[in-house]
Symmetry: C2
Subunit: 225 residues, 2 copies
């Protein structure tokens, strides 16, 4: 068994964020060949003492300093020739995180990851574009069927924030009244007494997600993939 040729095993992360109006993905601009100058997913090699998920989380933490992040496996990319340097298989992961907590890296360190609007994230290095596609498809499916947004929005948010997120994920067609009816039917969404301030229009109510009531949905999804 041990005399089989072995691939290098990478864990890459499609980390998505939301700035209030647009989806972003965390990318690194490559300095060296292959794909020098191209954008690529953050990631690194899996160590024998950890799972691919753990490696993805570790890489993400090293990159952003952020630890309280949900990471889940997306797909394993194993097409021969996907990395010109040799046999490298990559387990792609999806991470959803609150962009506000992880500001765009200070511009001085070129190795730092940057938030790039998903719409502008084209022609990624390797087959990372496929991983991004899958990540978007996954959250689309999730937003269609389940309460969605807890990981991407700040603790408190308005229904308009949530609506903007759904709009960004699903496309432009959403009726406000129907949307509100739908999300308020989720028991997982709890209204707060607090309201927006300093806006020059009526103050929107804040909401938060109830993680307890969200959990059943997280389980329901597992079979969904």
């Amino acid at each position: 068994m041990s005399d089989y040729p072995r691939p290098a095993l990478a864990a890459d992360v499609v980390a998505l964020g939301f700035d209030g109006s647009e989806l972003f993905v965390l990318l690194i601009q490559r300095e060296h060949e292959p794909f020098a100058g191209s954008w690529a997913l953050p990631g690194g090699f899996v160590e024998p003492s950890e799972s691919a998920e753990q490696a993805a989380l570790r890489e993400l933490t090293e990159e952003t300093g952020l630890t309280d992040v949900s990471v889940e496996q997306l797909h394993t990319l194993s097409q021969p020739g996907r990395d010109p340097r040799g046999w490298v298989v990559s387990v792609a992961h999806l991470a959803l995180l609150r962009m506000a907590d992880h500001p765009p890296a200070a511009g001085d360190d070129a190795r730092r990851a940057e938030w790039v609007p998903v719409k502008r994230a084209k022609a990624l290095a390797f087959d990372h574009g496929l991983a991004l596609e899958r990540a978007l498809a996954r959250i689309r499916a999730r937003a269609e069927r389940f309460p969605f947004g807890a990981e991407l929005l700040p603790e408190k948010f308005t229904l308009r924030d949530l609506e903007a997120l759904h709009r960004a994920v699903l496309g432009e067609d959403l009726d406000r009244r129907n949307f509100r009816k739908r999300v308020r039917s989720w028991a997982a969404l709890v209204p707060l007494d607090e309201r927006e301030t300093g806006v020059r229009h009526r103050r929107a109510r804040f909401f938060r997600f109830d993680g307890r009531r969200l959990r059943p949905f997280v389980r329901a999804e597992t079979g969904e993939s």
Copy 2:
């Protein structure tokens, strides 16, 4: 990059079949430690010249002689220690195949895979039970939302066959009239003029799936996993 430790990479297959009343999974009884005597998923090591999917299909073909099979990736199992012999990462796949075309192996070759009823497939070797769980969850989700059954049923089948399959996948609660209404609303299901013969009750009509009309659903699913 090449001085990182590398795992052995396996491609394992959860091959599911349906005998008309029950779901089966194709398993191999292990002869050697670890897990000697336990049931395990068929599979083998990925070669540098192929993708994990291709490896899964190759292994399945070697095992069953069958080639016209749909294989898709399920999940990558990478928990450290999952294989006591060393660092082995496995990409688990789902394959759906027509059991009738792949009869239970002749009993004389112990290395041959056997169809085991899913209900009796407990305590699999390694973490193969997890892969089986995921496979079942995936087809459950699919049967709930999309036309399902084309890969598991013979070319021609009766609505009762299809119903039995859905019952096996989803559980026992299915109303026959509602089920028929639902599947007949799929344009993908086409009635034939042919009917059952030799049964001592009214002859059931045969149906087949229209692969052309099925395709849009296959695409719709990609985002679902």
